[in-house]
Subunit: 528 residues, 2 copies
């Protein structure tokens, strides 16, 4: 799979990202994020700076999801950043889950201290501390309680795009940061059935988005009690396999029952004129998805962006050799760019970058490879004369390029992009299939998740890449989950709805851990 | 100007918003925001909830500005919510301006206290308090210092859409809230001239946006030293006149010189290979603009939205009389909606709401009037037979409606909307012109800003609506500004670039306060 310039006859292949995935996956990830100019750390512990190319990816994710949310009847709104401490205290499980590690605002003024620096003004201490929202069920619930009076006000279908903060000790860009960007849907319904249907509908929206836009196959399913959202009745998730075979929880959808409605007082008068508590849901995805894109598609030369989420689809790199041909080349380049921009790809104009910076061609080309733009097009004086261009695809080797006529490039670019999108999905699915296994016993599961060898990288031990997704009948014994988490760092990711072929006869299953009758198959994996 | 149902022959006109602008302007504003369902207060002091219709307005503002920012070469990125205290301390003027009233995070965990409630965990006290960003010059400056090495890295043209917090004691929805949403542009340049040109360019972007999209005329100009952004060399603003004749600062653009570059260490190697500090700018507009829209265009029946910013341009209200015609009416309505949606208005599809809620027609119609949707279209069985509809325009009286054929409606909707947009601008401009005055002496200025009578509203004294914009030569004496601020609450809004006709001979002006030679004309007003 490694691509790049081959240095010396058949010797080790040089890649743009060092280390490679095989050498040190965790460090490879950091290097891809850096080389693709997606994000970096900041002076504030655990908070990241999302750089323009990374933010543009997030904007693409937002744009596509926003259309899907609005098509399913949701409207955007905005609620306060701060949550009064007393609100968090209202829902018992919720406070357990979220009060632990959060940013607490205690003062509303700084004054000059004795040493000359600033200190929080003791006179400006808040009567009640405020929490920077880790999630907004409680503060949005307070509004819903005001907005809902009668069954006619339901369903209430709201989404918020916002930043949230969860204090984290060990952070990784996009995957786990103290502050992150996300959307959080919050809905209230008159009946349990409607709220459950909403929960499932948004899970479907997420899995459709992952498959069609991110080119990332996911297992969707319900979480076990141990992995539920604090305060939820049921939590559903989509789980994707990263290239190191660990699972990434890429989105969650919660059926909250009446727990939060009771905590926040979301009551309504029913058609029968009785007073009822509403049934609520919440669901969210975050900038973590950008990390998921990296770990699903990037390779040892950098980022690989699925065309449907690409901030730009194609970069044109003029090859300028001497001043006499420069004007002609640039005229051709701008003409080609305009033609390409007039093409529609999945409801959006083809986005073209023209990179005429005064840098060496190789340097520019590698920069775009590392950033993962789907197509690179070189145009030199000879191409102009032939009415053609040299096309390179990011899903092929970095030296791979082929001449294509201008007419064909414009005429086939959408099918080339579609082919790339489908190819990325197929590759990710093949990877998942290769590393998903039905296991028939606890011993087999434990063996699957135990690395067979360890290598030294720097001064650290690194287990070889191992494991993947293990499927087996599971009776739901929480103590089994605790054991596996502690012993192997393996958890039940979810109870998948759609299972791959194989496995035991579904009508007569027994839990591989306890031997008890089991009606569910669980997906076990190590995870981010 | 008052519109609404006339109850009784020529008696007092009933309006949807009570009190009217004339009766109690401040309360009228709150009632319009409420009646139009734009926003409301929250349980968190000073923080507002932006409701779906208000948020959709903000999304429209964002969408149009974002295109303008990108067209001028800017890219979006995202920086941390928190600013280390030490960063704020770096720029002396800046800390004076922003350290005063801000949200200070001192702990990163809550634990159960003795009384059972949660308390900040004393063991989780931060070594250095974090400030919730009131503005991001210092935290973005730290990134710029990393990103800029050589003149080749310049200019750096970045924008951020984000929430910010400035602790405010007296808050008003949209106009002044502790948390608000905004965009903040931050750029770095190799030369003073380039940075100054950027500052001016973005001021032009803002004034163009205000004029063309918000239908809000503005004076653009430089602030006096007393009104500069803390840490800036020059601050420019756009200032609009609200219907109570007070000024609203609707956007600012700051030339920061090398102040922040020196504070943050933004250095680069010049073409001449010398080490230089960069020249930076920042510029921003906020959700305050939504308040500006209300106070520029709303009337005594509620919100009036300029068509180019309308979340929806037209609502179709089916008039259903009995089941036998319902299907026909709804078929016509959906067909008409589809036809209208296929029309493009300034690069965007016409947005159509179909309101078939089971409510009385009058109730629905008034709801949309109060929300300020530009056009209302009623369709009943007789309209269907005639192939027509009843059209009402929000810029005319609420009872005003006229039959229009379906073909004409579809064919002329864009010109109707353009006419409304132009009419709103003309009305706002006429209002501003009427209440803008050249003053020739301090006595005249003081008289202009002194109410002539006072009325009792509830138990409070309310001065009659008075004043406006006063223009006069001003030599820039800061003590004059202090006196006027303290005595009359009047400030120099800016030094306008483009002046209305009239006033003294520009080649030989003397300050009306000090008699000193003056080369500038200042705009004085009371303000929000």
């Amino acid at each position: 799979m490694t691509k790049g310039e081959s240095k010396g006859g058949g010797a080790k292949v040089e890649t743009a990202i060092k280390p490679t995935r095989a050498d040190d996956y965790a460090e490879w990830y950091q290097q891809v994020v850096r080389a693709a100019d997606l994000a970096e750390g900041s002076a504030v512990r655990g908070c990241m700076v999302i750089k323009p190319w990374g933010y543009a990816l997030w904007e693409r994710i937002q744009a596509e999801l926003d259309v899907m949310f609005k098509a399913t009847g949701h409207k955007n709104a905005y609620f306060p950043l701060f949550i009064p401490k007393s609100f968090l205290e209202k829902e018992a499980e919720h406070v357990e889950g979220f009060a632990k590690e959060c940013a607490v605002v205690t003062h509303h003024r700084l004054i000059a201290g004795e040493g000359g620096g600033l200190i929080p003004d003791p006179k400006a201490k808040l009567e009640e501390p405020l929490i920077v929202r880790p999630t907004s069920e409680t503060i949005i619930g307070a509004s819903f309680a005001q907005w809902v009076r009668s069954y006619r006000d339901l369903p209430l279908l709201i989404n918020q795009w916002a930043n949230v903060v969860r204090w984290e000790m060990r952070t990784r860009l996009f995957l786990r940061t103290a502050e992150f960007l996300w959307q959080e849907g919050h809905t209230a319904h008159a009946t349990r059935e409607e709220a459950e249907a909403e929960t499932r509908q948004m899970l479907d929206v997420y899995s459709t988005f992952a498959r069609e836009h991110m080119a990332m196959p996911v297992f969707k399913g319900r979480k076990t009690d141990a992995e539920r959202f604090p305060g939820a009745v049921d939590t559903y998730s989509i789980e994707a396999m990263m290239q190191d075979r660990k699972a990434l929880q890429a989105g969650t959808s919660h059926f909250l029952g009446q727990n939060f409605a009771k905590a926040s007082g979301i009551r309504f008068q029913s058609k029968q004129e009785t007073e009822e508590y509403a049934w609520t849901t919440s669901w969210g995805v975050s900038t973590r998805l950008v990390g998921g894109l990296v770990m699903t598609h990037a390779d040892d030369d950098g980022m690989v962006i699925p065309p449907r989420l690409a901030p730009a689809h194609v970069v044109i790199l003029p090859v300028l050799r001497g001043d006499d041909t420069k004007a002609k080349v640039m005229e051709f380049v701008h003409g080609l760019a305009a033609e390409l921009r007039s093409v529609t790809y999945h409801g959006r104009r083809i986005e073209v970058e023209v990179d005429n910076r005064d840098l060496r061609g190789g340097e520019k080309s590698w920069e775009w490879i590392k950033r993962g733009i789907p197509l690179r097009v070189e145009v030199g004086p000879r191409d102009v004369e032939a009415g053609s261009a040299m096309l390179s695809r990011r899903d092929r080797g970095t030296r791979d390029k082929a001449s294509i006529s201008r007419v064909d490039l414009v005429g086939t670019i959408t099918s080339i992009l579609d082919e790339m999108q489908a190819g990325l999905y197929a590759r990710a699915l093949a990877h998942r299939t290769e590393h998903t296994r039905w296991v028939g016993s606890r011993a087999e599961l434990e063996d699957f998740f135990t690395p067979k060898s360890v290598r030294m990288v720097g001064g650290d031990e690194r287990p070889e890449m191992h494991g993947g997704f293990a499927l087996c009948p599971f009776a739901g014994d929480a103590s089994v989950e605790t054991e596996l988490r502690e012993k192997l760092k393996v958890t039940v990711r979810n109870i998948p709805e759609d299972l791959p072929d194989g496995g035991p006869d579904r009508s007569n299953m027994r839990c591989i851990f306890t031997g008890a009758p089991a009606d569910k198959v669980a997906l076990f994996a190590k995870s981010y």
